[in-house]
């Protein structure tokens, strides 16, 4: 799976570099979420593991995204889509239209399905890896903005 240790470590090091942009408790929570994605790697059955990994990645991304779009004081009740929109629109204009669309399709849509739809699981390890890869790429791109 893309939640392999090296990928998570790479995201953690990028996160660490942005540490001063986060309130200490928020930074700690995001770091722990990424750690959880690694610690559930032996969870069985497999579909539960996939769901947990996606959930931990998404929660880490969600909080990071709110920080990037609204700063430490705002964004608590904003949706992922609203955060991407804010990053796209002036005055921030921090992401391109192409990034916005890719994030909405590859990250927000599957995240909403798996987090909110009863019975929704990735159909295979391959599908889970695909989503984790996309979420990880988005996470890395958002960290560059902070």
């Amino acid at each position: 799976l893309s939640a392999a240790r090296k990928r998570i470590e790479t995201l953690q090091v990028e996160l660490k570099a942005a540490e001063l942009s986060f309130p200490a408790a928020v930074f700690r929570a995001i770091t722990e979420e990424l750690g959880e994605a690694e610690s559930v790697r032996r969870t069985m059955p497999e579909r539960r593991r996939h769901l947990l990994q996606i959930m931990h990645f998404c929660r880490a991304l969600d909080t990071t995204l709110k920080q990037a779009a609204y700063g430490p004081s705002g964004g608590a009740k904003k949706t992922m889509g609203q955060c991407f929109q804010r990053l796209l629109d002036p005055p921030l204009s921090l992401i391109t239209r192409g990034q916005y669309q890719t994030f909405m399709d590859d990250v927000r849509d599957p995240r909403n399905r798996f987090m909110h739809e009863a019975g929704a699981f990735p159909n295979s390890t391959y599908e889970a890896s695909r989503h984790l890869g996309s979420i990880g790429a988005c996470f890395s791109e958002i960290l560059k903005l902070i």
Partner: protein, 308 residues
């Protein structure tokens, strides 16, 4: 002489001894946008340090290291500090590339590396926001074009609903429409490596000026893909003082016989190729002189003009 892998391990161990525990160090990072990341990433104190250990090829050809540095600078945080580790055998390389790195450090001088890692941001080498945006725009265009081609392939090979077909067509007509993700076939498990042929686009009807590379059937070789990405990064960016400034140049089109998908992160190669300025299509999807090829070429050229 120690290999790059041994050198990474040695430096990682030394940095773990010398740096406070809250610094995060990763050796051989797996970055989602890069085929070859820096050898070590060190985060802490509010900044990132990217450590490059030159390979034998990079020692003999500084342009290869320059291309790797270019892509890393675009993929990592804007204020990441690039550091080159160069022993006496790479003194020429160190001298030639001194201006592009925050510091060139001798293999044995770990304390110098620690000082850079714990030191201030290198303000002269912070990549401007506009440069990162230009790179993101190019990446976005190339990646979405690859995905549209993957989707059209999937549509052609399986039954899809009328609405999805209409959506796929809309995606092709206007890439700014929201696409759906579909997978193509997995890379063939053949033992022989794929070969890459460069095609003279002036003789490939409909795509003048657009770099075209054709892959033969076979196993994808990361070294070849890296080489392709490096060549294109040289066309797209000019490295000056460690900052990769975008040049006006079209993105490239890579024609493949199967989608290069990886098990661990299926889109990693497609993503990394797009980040390096290559869009993918199956060879028979874009026949020479076809209307589709002309339209793709138009988008590749427009993306290279950096119009977002």
């Amino acid at each position: 002489m120690a290999s790059v892998y041994q050198e990474r391990r040695r430096l990682e161990a030394a940095l773990r001894r010398e740096l406070p525990n809250d610094y995060v160090i990763v050796s051989g990072p797996d970055h989602p946008l890069l085929l070859r990341a820096a050898d070590l990433l060190v985060g802490g104190g509010g900044s990132l340090t990217a450590v490059f250990i030159p390979t034998a090829r990079e020692k003999s050809d500084p342009d290869v290291l320059r291309a790797r540095l270019t892509l890393n600078r675009l993929a990592l945080q804007r204020d990441a500090r690039p550091v080159l580790i160069a022993g006496p055998e790479a003194a020429d390389l160190g001298g030639a590339m001194e201006g592009d790195f925050t510091q060139v450090i001798d293999t044995q001088h770990v304390q110098s590396l620690v000082r850079v890692i714990r030191g201030p941001v290198d303000t002269r080498r912070v990549v401007p926001k506009e440069v990162h945006l230009a790179a993101s725009h190019r990446f976005g265009e190339a990646f979405r074009m690859s995905r549209v081609m993957a989707f059209l392939y999937a549509r052609a090979t399986r039954r899809t609903s009328g609405a999805r077909q209409a959506r796929a067509q809309a995606m092709f007509e206007n890439i700014s429409e929201p696409p759906e993700v579909e997978e193509g076939s997995k890379a063939e498990g053949k033992s022989s490596r794929t070969r890459i042929h460069r095609i003279d686009s002036s003789n490939f009807g409909g795509a003048p000026g657009v770099p075209i590379a054709a892959f033969s059937a076979g196993r994808y070789d990361s070294g070849q893909l890296t080489q392709l990405v490096y060549e294109q990064s040289t066309n797209l960016y000019s490295l000056d003082g460690g900052i990769p400034y975008p040049k006006r140049a079209p993105l490239g089109l890579a024609l493949v016989s199967s989608w290069p998908l990886m098990a661990r992160d299926p889109y990693k190669l497609v993503r990394a190729l797009a980040f390096g300025g290559w869009s993918l299509a199956l060879t028979d999807q874009v026949p020479r002189g076809s209307d589709r090829l002309q339209r793709i070429a138009l988008r590749m050229r427009a993306a290279g003009e950096m119009e977002s």
